[in-house]
């Protein structure tokens, strides 16, 4: 009896009540535009409790006050890093990459002056698989890559994901959809089934920390011709989707394209964009 009591006291149980979950959910939504459904409760609680333990808070209330009023905002960023899902792999939704090289790049060039750089933004880029896939696809499957400068900017809200992206080391699962010859040509095998992307390709993507819902971050994101924004808006509610859509609109040159995830539709969010149906994919275009 005494022994078990001591054991309980030495490792205090931390719980997040329903009301505390609601508080956190509302706050997190207000700050990021990401809303957790009730089905995500376990996922959210687990991560909140993990952070409380790490920073030495035994209750939600004091921890939440710490998050809310910390001037640096570092702890909130830690939570964002933990709460955002980073599942991705090379050549995911490859039909859109095909569309990029088969149709979009040609249209983009048609409206550019000779020698002008084409700019592509991958958001959210997570651990880098998407922007590197774009780079690989352009190098291997776009026959005009030697004639044109292409700049690839990749951003994510998660600074840890960005560090991994810059490091360019990927698991076996992450590269499993790549053709073996591409794997051989651009990656160096490492122990444990990992693969390191070659330096040249890693240097071809400019990774930046950007919160799509924060105007301070997005105001510098301009003059893009193609934006990959896949499987992000689906986590936003209507108001946040509209704001994000306007941000993407502002970031594009006239005639520029946005590619969303397969389950997402810009038409349900805003009428700012024109729907374009290409052979490989449906894409949204900022009017010329």
């Amino acid at each position: 009896m005494g022994h078990s009591g001591v054991a309980r006291e030495s490792v205090p149980e931390i719980r997040v009540t329903d009301a505390e979950f609601e508080r956190f959910r509302d706050y997190f939504y207000r700050k990021t535009g990401i809303r957790f459904e009730d089905s995500k409760r376990y996922f959210v609680d687990k991560r909140l409790i993990q952070r409380m333990r790490q920073v030495g808070h035994e209750g939600f209330r004091e921890y939440f006050a710490f998050v809310r009023f910390q001037a640096s905002g570092k702890e909130f960023q830690e939570l964002v890093n933990l709460m955002t899902v980073n599942e991705t792999y090379f050549f995911r939704e490859e039909y859109q990459l095909k569309c990029m090289v088969n149709a979009l790049m040609g249209e983009v060039l048609h409206h550019k002056r000779s020698g002008e750089t084409v700019r592509i933004w991958s958001v959210p880029c997570s651990t880098g698989e998407e922007p590197y896939s774009i780079a690989l696809y352009l190098l291997e499957f776009w026959d005009r890559i030697d004639e044109v400068d292409v700049e690839i900017v990749a951003s994510d809200i998660d600074t840890q994901a960005l560090e991994k992206a810059r490091a360019g080391v990927f698991s076996r699962r992450s590269v499993s959809h790549l053709p073996p010859w591409i794997l051989k040509k651009y990656f160096e095998p490492l122990a444990g089934g990992y693969h390191r992307l070659c330096d040249d390709l890693r240097a071809s993507v400019d990774f930046r920390r950007v919160n799509l819902c924060d105007p301070r971050d997005t105001r510098g994101m301009r003059d893009f011709d193609v934006i990959f924004c896949r499987n992000l808006l689906i986590y936003f509610d209507e108001a946040s989707q509209r704001r994000a859509a306007e941000t993407l609109y502002d970031a594009l040159n006239p005639g520029g394209f946005v590619l969303l995830g397969h389950s997402e539709s810009m038409s349900r969010i805003t009428s700012l964009f024109k729907v374009r149906r290409f052979e490989d994919a449906i894409v949204y275009q900022k009017p010329l």
């Binding site: 009540t17 329903d18 009301a19 505390e20 609601e22 508080r23 509302d26 706050y27 207000r30 209330r61 939440f64 006050a65 809310r68 009023f69 910390q70 001037a71 905002g73 002056r113 020698g115 002008e116 750089t117 700019r119 780079a135 352009l138 190098l139 890559i145 030697d146 004639e147 044109v148 400068d149 292409v150 700049e151 690839i152 900017v153 040249d200 390709l201 240097a203 071809s204 993507v205 400019d206 105007p215 301070r216 105001r219 003059d223 502002d250």
Partner: protein, 210 residues
């Protein structure tokens, strides 16, 4: 040709447009009044690099008809983020334009150092609308005194809308120690049915039983 490398990005940011105007401070300030909204917008954006431009940006906000230019001005003011920005934006809280007021609140929320020492004056303003906007600023101000300021509003402000706004905000950050003060609001405004609802809702959140 090919993929541009990161170092090249930094050395030569890809903006191949040929600049029509000078991009120095005087040129940008002049373009802030250009006939073309696009020129004004880019001027507003580039003025983010000039702390001296705060008053010009704030003045332009009050007459700027294009929402995309306003957005750029707010963005630049936030980037600059000085005391002068807070000083320039606070008068907008008294304006009739809801878009400008909301924009000002959003920027001020992000400037705890510049705004913190101005909060007491805002919360003591004779205009209850200004006091409500001050509470709105507190909602997202990363300042350790924010809950105490909101509690003081709950305890002392005489306008029911100001008090219920503060109660609503305290529902997120309030603590059990604040419960008596929040509960007492019902007695201060016995003829306002909404007060009871606001208090009960906040208490449920704070006490964790709702």
């Amino acid at each position: 040709m090919g993929l541009v490398k990161r170092a090249e990005h930094r050395a030569a940011p890809s903006r191949p447009h040929i600049r029509k105007y000078g991009r120095d401070l005087q040129g940008l300030l002049a373009q802030l009044h250009d006939d073309q909204a696009k020129a004004r917008r880019w001027a507003a954006r580039d003025l983010a690099a000039h702390t001296e431009a705060v008053s010009a940006l704030c003045e332009r906000l009050q007459v700027e008809p294009d929402p995309t230019v306003r957005e750029a001005i707010f963005g630049s003011l936030l980037t600059i983020g000085t005391e002068a920005v807070a000083e320039g934006l606070i008068p907008l809280l008294r304006g009739e334009d809801a878009g400008l007021r909301n924009g000002a609140v959003e920027i001020l929320q992000q400037l705890p150092d510049a705004v913190g020492h101005r909060i007491a004056a805002l919360l003591a303003d004779s205009d209850p609308d200004v006091r409500i906007f001050a509470v709105d600023i507190l909602q997202d101000l990363a300042h350790p005194d924010a809950p105490a300021w909101m509690l003081a509003v709950v305890e002392a402000d005489e306008h029911v809308n100001v008090v219920t706004t503060a109660i609503d905000r305290l529902a997120e950050v309030g603590t059990p120690e604040m419960v008596p003060a929040i509960q007492a609001v019902k007695d201060r405004f016995p003829n306002e049915p909404f007060v009871g609802f606001a208090v009960d809702t906040a208490l449920k959140r704070i006490l964790g039983n709702g």
